[in-house]
């Protein structure tokens, strides 16, 4: 007979030992608030990687448009004194159109390479999400409950037949809880340890990537956009106006659209750089706040700011891509 009185009395030390084991493992897991913050960081950062590449792509489109605008200021088919047509303007115009294509594709390519290099951030967010997800432990919890239920049923059968006057305690639930807690806590503790190690190791790399993104946005692209507006678009428009005397509204609109796109891309450059700085700080705060098990009394401010900044930058990106 399995459930003898003697065996039942050994349940107390067994549960006590289990409790001790669970307490020790439990100290290594993250608190709910810590898990929540990691999840929030992963979600906030997942749509960041496509932003910096948009800057290069947009600049390429603006340079393309400038090349095309140059074509419109030329006078074609001028006839010389000996009656011959001057073909040089048309030849130059054709070169400008080809340059427009070359410039656009080269900057587009740079943007794509940037996106490809930063795609790693998306994968990193996905992995952080996997590390804080409760999928494995929830699956364990389900099977543990089923196990507990069947143990209770078996005990019921036994009690009905043999121990009607002295029924055994329903121990299935206790064992189910122990199985669930031990399996779940072990995995959660392991997840927490991998997460802490990962965040710590990745932190200097994240900081380096974000510094590079800031350099691209603020020192390379933004000054180029300002130069574009001041020295390319302005000159192209004025030369066109001076040469043509009258301007079609479509030409004016073309110039206006380019001015709008330039200004929006400048705003985007600022937002990309600001979000890069926040990304770096949010990640560093995450490392700090997951170092030991603690209940975070309030949300990590930089993580909240990151979500808002990446969202705002993506809205500007949509404007730029219009």
């Amino acid at each position: 007979m399995i459930f003898t009185k003697h065996k039942c009395t050994t349940k107390f030390p067994l549960v006590f030992i289990l409790f001790l084991i669970l307490s020790v493992i439990g100290c290594a897991v993250l608190t709910e608030s810590q898990v929540k913050e990691v999840g929030k960081f992963a979600k906030a950062s997942e749509s960041y990687s496509g932003l910096p590449g948009t800057l290069a792509k947009s600049y390429g489109e603006l340079v393309r448009n400038s090349n095309l605008l140059i074509v419109t200021r030329k006078e074609f088919g001028q006839i010389s004194k000996n009656g011959r047509i001057d073909t040089s303007a048309a030849n130059d115009a054709w070169d400008s159109i080809r340059d427009a294509y070359k410039d656009e594709t080269e900057f587009e390519e740079a943007g794509k390479r940037m996106d490809a290099a930063l795609l790693i951030l998306e994968k990193y967010s996905d992995l952080l999400t996997s590390l804080v997800s409760g999928d494995s432990t929830e699956a364990l919890s389900g099977s543990a409950k089923a196990f507990g239920k069947s143990l209770d049923e078996a005990t019921d059968t036994y009690n009905e037949r043999y121990r009607v006057d002295e029924p055994l305690k329903m121990i299935g639930g206790t064992i189910a809880m122990a199985v669930r807690s031990t399996g779940g806590l072990y995995i959660r503790a392991k997840q927490a340890s991998i997460l802490k190690e990962t965040l710590k190791d990745a932190d200097p790399l994240i900081a380096g990537l974000m510094d590079e993104v800031k350099l691209i946005a603020l020192k390379k692209i933004k000054p180029s956009l300002q130069n574009y507006e001041d020295n390319y678009l302005q000159n192209d428009f004025k030369s066109l106006a001076n040469n043509k005397k009258n301007l079609d509204v479509s030409a004016v609109l073309f110039v206006y659209d380019n001015l709008y796109k330039t200004r929006q891309t400048i705003i985007l450059a600022d937002k990309v750089a600001k979000a890069a700085e926040t990304y770096k700080k949010a990640h560093a705060e995450l490392v700090e706040n997951t170092r030991t098990k603690m209940t975070l009394k309030e949300a990590i401010s930089q993580v909240q700011a990151l979500a808002a900044e990446v969202g705002a930058a993506n809205k500007v990106k949509d404007e730029v891509n219009k």
């Binding site: 740079a110 390479r113 992995l127 196990f147 059968t157 072990y186 995995i187 990537l209 590079e212 001041d230």
Partner: protein, 114 residues
């Protein structure tokens, strides 16, 4: 050419581009002078673009080398997550096996075999 040298040249090119813009705004230029300035502006843009693209590509190479290191960390986490999933699956198997034993115990008890 070092990155700082290229930055200095790009700055100088942009100063000349600004000077061309200023000159083009002068009201007493002939058409020939305007055309010459417009042509100069196009040449300067080509140089500007070449330097900028070169600088951007160098930055992207740096980004790539840093992202490669992060990719190594990602690979390591992925392998560890797979191991955890394995452990989870094994715990599941063990709990199902125990479940089966407990059910069998109940049935056998119910049938009065044990």
């Amino acid at each position: 050419m070092a990155n700082t040298e290229k930055m200095v040249i790009l700055k100088q090119i942009r100063e000349i581009e600004s000077a061309v813009t200023k000159s083009l705004a002068e009201p007493d230029l002939t058409q020939r002078q305007r055309n010459a300035l417009d042509d100069l502006s196009v040449v300067l843009r080509d140089i500007d673009k070449l330097i900028l693209l070169n600088e951007l590509n160098e930055c992207i190479d740096d980004l790539k080398s840093k992202s490669k290191k992060l990719n190594n960390i990602n690979g390591r986490i992925k392998r560890q997550i797979e191991k955890l999933e394995d452990i989870s699956a094994k715990v599941e198997q063990v709990s199902k096996a125990i479940d089966a034993i407990v059910k069998a115990f109940g049935i056998l008890k119910g049938a009065g075999v044990i």
